[in-house]
Symmetry: C2
């Protein structure tokens, strides 16, 4: 049976992770979970972000379930670079998977979009680009200061994530992949992405393809999100586009994500897109749906497609049953979904 | 009297520019205009994108009015890098100004947003960042290929555009500036932007400030565009955010922009955000409003604030008078606006 590591984290993280675990236990009894204390609280207590020993222990698990880490009291970058990005890079999680669906019962902020019409997945590259950490500062704090950030892109890194996107598209109904980049300005990286995309596309005659500049894609996600099926893009563009996709499908409160190492060499990590939301932490009112959907992605990745599908169906029923101004209780949502997946 | 250069360009460019000129002539008779033939058509005819002699002549004008350049037959990057970006960099147009208003009579795709509620302006840096053209490719076309893009940011370049944003905010009613960056990942450039922003903010105690990561800003532009007044951001983030802002306020068909050299050393350039739209070119059905509003920005920049305000009022009336499914004729729209500004 699967062994997972659980990083509940800060703020609402522990609250929503508790419900995700409840649902996992109900749908697939016997998954073994080990808790790891990481995040802002540990950082403040010990000064540690991610000790090597913990990284080593995490590596021994089949997958990681993460709630949320972060707090306004931690300087920007410390937990992001030291924990989240560290894990994505150390565990070679090159497929950052972010599905967006407009669920029945959920209102889109877009007047013209109806539930069921949006069902897209962004395959965001997770280990390269501007996230590589290549950059520097000269003459800091003087009028002559220069700061650089470098986007690093390799054929190796681009090809593997593009292949993953096409493989996913082949298994979906519409079988369409949109490449998003900015080839007219970022001509070097853009050309690498475009040529790689074309080469992989040639091996998938059954998949329809299109290309869009990132500014156009940002616009079309607002005016016509229905048009997308699978979107493949680089690390930073993916960061921005997935928040837009989440916004038009009811908000990051419902958005799940997976940082996946498809090769299985290292564990993949699954987490809600929302943050630790310190303003509502401890009150039992956070929506655990994004964490529960992240658990479904986790089980799917571990080969339990049926269990994952049962969670998705239960979440769909939960959301369809909510009124517009529901006063939700975190634990009750988890109870309802757990009861349904067990039934 | 002002002397302007006009680059009508390709596709619907000449059609919408004709109306913008009609309106300029009506509101401020005597502006001298010289036409320059640049764009896809010239490129195909002569192989030239922007000869040095033309660049020199353009430099001698007070401002440039551009329609749209580009055509699917021109390889990506040729006109962008060779003409549009060349002009922004050669003429040190460091303030890329993109106002977004939801005009009365225009429907937002956002269900909860009402006309009059959105009135923001993005001050996008125009001469640095990932647009600097710093990057390269090694081992092209092989499995070992590496492609890089470098974002270059200087205190000089960041400070001048941040100052411009605060100066604009001081003149507006809400007096608020939002800095958008990605300081938690792009720590070098992010720190430079954040420190510079704080330093300039300290000189403007009357202006409210906030900071948002680019992914959060992309989301809030969709869920709550009303919250923004002036947004200042880097070149690439500005490219993406302004298309979202345009989308939520009725589309790029209404969006105007200015690439401004505030020092007046070089001419500033004004253009609609939309492209050359070859699919509808030559039919007289393109909406000239974005070009007309770009002309208003041009006149404002040249010190004719009254003339600019009259155009804005006339555009507002034009849009308020349109039914939802109006079959518009380019020339008639220009005639109506010209008649109103002259009255
Ligand atoms: C927290 C941050 C480093 C992260 C990112 O930029 O990838 C977040 O925005 C996300 O999308 O997972
Ligand atoms: C055409 C392209 C180079 C340009 C840009 O990226 O700046 C356009 O998208 C814009 O926003 O003006």
């Amino acid at each position: 049976m699967a062994r997972i590591a659980v990083v509940a984290g800060d703020g609402i993280g522990p609250e929503v992770v508790a419900e995700a675990r409840k649902v996992i236990d109900a749908v697939l009894p016997g998954v073994e979970a080990t808790e790891y204390d990481l995040g802002a609280a540990r950082y403040h207590r010990t000064g540690e972000v991610l000790p090597d020993s913990v990284l080593g222990e995490l590596a021994g698990h089949d997958a990681i379930l993460l709630g949320a880490v972060g707090d306004p009291t931690v300087p920007p970058g410390v937990l992001e670079r030291g924990l989240l990005l560290k894990l994505r890079f150390a565990f070679d999680q090159y497929v950052n998977l972010r599905p967006s669906r407009l669920w029945p019962g959920v209102a889109s902020p877009l007047a013209a979009v109806k539930p069921g019409e949006v069902d897209l997945v962004v395959v965001r590259e997770g280990t390269e680009g501007l996230y590589a950490g290549a950059g520097g500062t000269l003459h800091r704090g003087t009028p002559a200061e220069v700061a650089t950030e470098e986007s690093l892109n390799t054929r190796h890194g681009v090809e593997r994530v593009v292949r993953d996107a096409f493989a996913r598209a082949s298994r979906r109904e519409r079988r369409k992949v949109t490449l998003v980049h900015k080839t007219n300005v970022l001509t070097h990286a853009g050309s690498l992405w475009a040529r790689t995309f074309e080469a992989v596309a040639a091996e998938h005659p059954d998949v329809t393809t299109e290309y869009q500049h990132v500014d156009a894609a940002a616009m079309f996600l607002v005016t016509q999100p229905q048009r997308y099926d699978v979107v493949v893009t680089d690390n930073l563009f993916g960061d921005i586009l997935t928040d837009i996709a989440a916004a038009v499908t009811g908000g990051i409160g419902l958005a799940a994500s997976g940082s996946i190492n498809p090769d299985g060499t290292y564990p993949s990590m699954f987490e809600p897109v929302h943050g630790s939301a310190p303003d509502i932490a401890g009150r039992g009112v956070a929506d655990p749906v994004a964490a529960v959907l992240s658990a479904a992605l986790l089980l799917d990745q571990l080969g339990h497609a049926d269990a994952a599908a049962r969670i998705t169906v239960a979440v769909s029923a939960e959301l369809a049953g909510r009124g517009p101004d529901v006063a939700l209780r975190t634990a009750e949502v988890g109870d309802r979904i757990a009861a349904q997946v067990a039934a």
